[in-house]
Amino acid sequence: MPCDPVQGCLVVPELTTQLRLTFANGLPVWQLVLIGLLVGGYLGYQVWYLRRKAATWMALVVTGLRLLAFALIIAFLTNPTVLLQTLQKIPIPLAVLVDSSVSMALPVADVGGGTRLQQGKDVWLRGNHPLLETLARDFDLRLYRFDERAHAIGRDELAPLIADGRATDIMQSLQDVHQEYRDTPLAGVVVMSDGIVTAGDARVEAARQGGIPVVTIGLGDPERYRDIQIAAIEAPNFAFLHSSVDIEVTVKGWGYKGQVIPLVLKQEGRILSTSNLLLDADRATRRATFTMTPKEVGRYRLSVETPVQVGETLRTNNQRDFQLQVRRDKIRVLVVSGRPSWNYRFLRRALKSDPSVDLISFIILRTPTDVVNVPDDQLSLIPFPTNRLFTEELSNFDLLIFDNFSYLLYFPMLYLENIRKFVDEGGAFAMFGGDQSFDLGGFTSTPIEEILPVTLERLGQGYMSGQVKMELTPEGLQHPITKLAPSAEDTQRIWQEMPPLRGFNRALRPKPEAVTLGVAGNGQANRTPLMATMQYGEGRTLAFLSDQFWRWNFEMVGAQGGNHHYLNMVHQMVRWLVKEPSLRPVQLFSDKDGYQLGESVTLRIKVLDHDFSPASGAVLNLVVRDPHGQSIHVNTLPTDEPGEFQAALKAEQLGAFRVEVDARLGDRHLGRDVLIYEVTSSTAESLHGAPDHETLRQLAAASNGRFFVASEVDADFGSVLREVLKRDLQYKIVEERALHLRHTPSAFLVLVGLFGIEWFLRRRAGLA
């Protein structure tokens, strides 16, 4: 049978014939009445007249014959015509929409049974007299498959149809059909679906607008559906470091009433927490809450999972992934100052003016030799909680600063080991100079010396007074802490304008792995380091070998009217030390957070040298780990931007991919970065599997249609449809033949015959 992909199937409609009698020349009623009165009067007179001369029956017979003759004459005046008509059915326009979204590939009821789509196909195509053919006799069928939109298909495309639509939008698909038939109104629409709407507007009220009845056929069996679905996860997009965050999980169960199911919270495959949830009602949602405290800044892929239960129809909705970006709510800085000083005072002002810094400071206000002359209750001094700070609370800080502070009087060396571990595990430490700092503070041969960027001398030459100007090294010109202007020239100029320091700790050498940012630019201590940084373990450290830092603030105010360079430097120093993501030497970016299967993934890598100049010569090792942990090595190519590289690959597998990049320059390791991206297919369709016949029922009711389950659709569905759509069968005349009776000889002979019989009877009865 020929089918047009757009116009639908061409079905030859049935023909039928019928006879009809019509009158071509109708007479006005008044004429018929007048003729009737005249004929009636005449015939009445004739009966009265003949009864006087003959028997009554004879009078009636003769008059009856005359009546017939007159009637025939009058009939001839109206031109009676017999019509022989050949009729053809007019098909009722009907759109049939078959859901081809992914959920239609799920079993009707039990795992292993036929799919919902197959159930739908069977409704239309099964048996010797498929319903589709039966309906095509009475209806002008237009077939569509639909997912997010409706697409016209031919009848021969129904059998091989596959369920691959990424989402289901019934209302949009109906609109598409209405739009196509805006000039030729449809009699109705049949929607065949499992009722799961995963896109667009699910409000069925919109179906009223078309005014076309929608008959819905529900596929799948909601009563026998069994599934456990992680229905929703409510978690913030970002959380703050060291602050607990609640993750609300909504679980919905079908067919597992009374069962306790385990829930697992994972971070990139690692179990963070578990919980049990009782499904105490069927088809009901239950909630569970996980509480976690992020320990590290970054972007993480988390998932909530529950094991697949026996008999579950849909397995892909037992896990739900989400991303959590961990930021610092505030950068927590602990400053321990050996004594009140301008260095402390201006550092405090700078840190306090930074809204992202939470500053806790302790200043040694009084030494053992100081005499206060008053009872303790007249002093505002508080205990220096060394034990708590350096054993329990240290990990809660991001940055520890020793400002001209010697530990010797206040806590044992054991606490210095805690500080070393704190840095090794990712904390930041800075030491500012002065007469109680570095070697003068007793830090030689302690764990602090190990983490400092400079080597401490056992017999140090102490603190040198006198003016010294800090000169930036080439590394300092590029380093985020000391680069105070976009260009090296401007940075150099700013530093030349900075006031000299009036003292510094000297005779200290930078360690080989340290990066010296500034050196003494003049005097006998020429080129000794003044500012240096180092990576130690996972953390960073800074040594600033002077307690005259404040002069770059206040004396610059006197000289130039502002202190923004100082504030900028403190701001950058804190952020570099605590490894703000934007200051990482190796930064990995993807063009999107998530990809659809088959899309291209573009990765961009920005690499900076230790001095923060672009590391164009860096050698990168880029490894992409697929969801099963298999490694894929991907080549990187330099871009036009110095220090920037690019890599591209295809998203060919579903799941979360972890990208790790490691950068080296010569024998130096510059750093590494990690990124996670996710490849998904049809997320919504893979989450929802329960047939939703209620939506179909409401859709039908809202449009004055009717809902059927698949088993209710039988061979008589056509007449049911006509009833629902309020459409009787309609025909058109394809051929017609007319027989005008007054033009036939037989009609004339009948008239003559009538008059002849009357004449004969009159003669026999002796009437005139």
């Binding site: 040694i364 206000l365 009084r366 001209n404 007469d435 603190y463 105010v557 009217g561």
Partner: protein
């Protein structure tokens, strides 16, 4: 058995960071001159008498050194408001009893920058009575430096009254005013004005005797005057440190 180090540590915590002795041995800090001492800088203005109590600053500095951990330079530094090194001395002391020549507009602009970007000035009225020519002049000059703000009394929960000692009265040579006045910007008070002649209460003669009697409280009043002086120096170096959250419960407990 408790180790000596642990014992010292416990003592440090119990005594508020104060230890009765210093650890000896190879690890001891070297005896160094303070690397960055506090300098008491006094403003030398034109007209009037800029230096009514020449020895007062040194006496205060001795007490600051004796009582606190602040490293001080024992000589005061004098300078004018046009001195190119003005911004090397964030603490300024301005005192007098008489009227003086108003600051020039340039000097006012400099002081605005000085006090607006973190500098501190202690103004001391040495006259010992209310409404002195110095007081009138200083109020006028302050209104030029801070045209949008007026001198206001500092409440006793201001950080200057608890920066070291818990000070409950504003002492001086004379009790002219029960409170300090100041200009406060945000939560920082860069200028404090005392009418009770603090300098007079600190001053000694060359034989070491107190030069002025403190009226009416005598030596107790002088003692309080030094406590306030120490607190003012401490406040200039630590700002609102004592208003940090961690200090508040301790201080409130002591204040009852």
């Amino acid at each position: 058995m408790i180790t000596r180090r642990r014992f010292i540590c416990h003592l440090a915590m119990a005594a508020g960071g104060i230890l009765p002795w210093v650890q000896a041995g190879a690890g001891s800090p070297r005896t160094e001159e303070p690397s960055s001492p506090f300098v008491f800088a006094q403003v030398q203005y034109r007209g009037g008498d800029w230096d009514p109590h020449p020895s007062a600053p040194v006496e205060l500095l001795k007490e600051v050194d004796r009582r606190t951990s602040i490293a001080v330079a024992f000589q005061r530094h004098t300078l004018t408001t046009t001195d190119p090194d003005l911004f090397s001395y964030p603490f300024l002391y301005l005192t007098g009893a008489l009227d003086f020549t108003p600051f020039t507009d340039a000097e006012i602009a400099t002081l605005q920058r000085f006090l607006g970007f973190g500098g501190f000035m202690l103004v001391n009225d040495a006259s010992g009575y209310r409404g002195s020519p110095f007081e009138r002049r200083i109020r006028e000059e302050v209104s030029r430096i801070f045209p949008d703000q007026a001198l206001e009394r500092l409440p006793f929960d201001h950080a200057v009254f608890r920066s070291y000692y818990l000070v409950r009265m504003v002492a001086g040579r004379r009790l002219v005013s029960p409170s300090l006045e100041g200009i406060t910007i945000d939560d920082w008070t860069p200028l404090i004005f005392c009418q009770n002649d603090l300098g007079g209460s600190w001053e000694r003669d060359h034989l070491g005797n107190w030069r002025h009697e403190c009226v009416p409280g005598g030596e107790s009043q002088r003692f309080q005057s030094f406590m306030l002086g120490v607190n003012i120096v401490m406040y200039s170096l630590t700002e609102n440190y004592k208003k940090d959250k961690i200090h508040i419960p301790f201080i409130n407990r002591k204040l009852g």
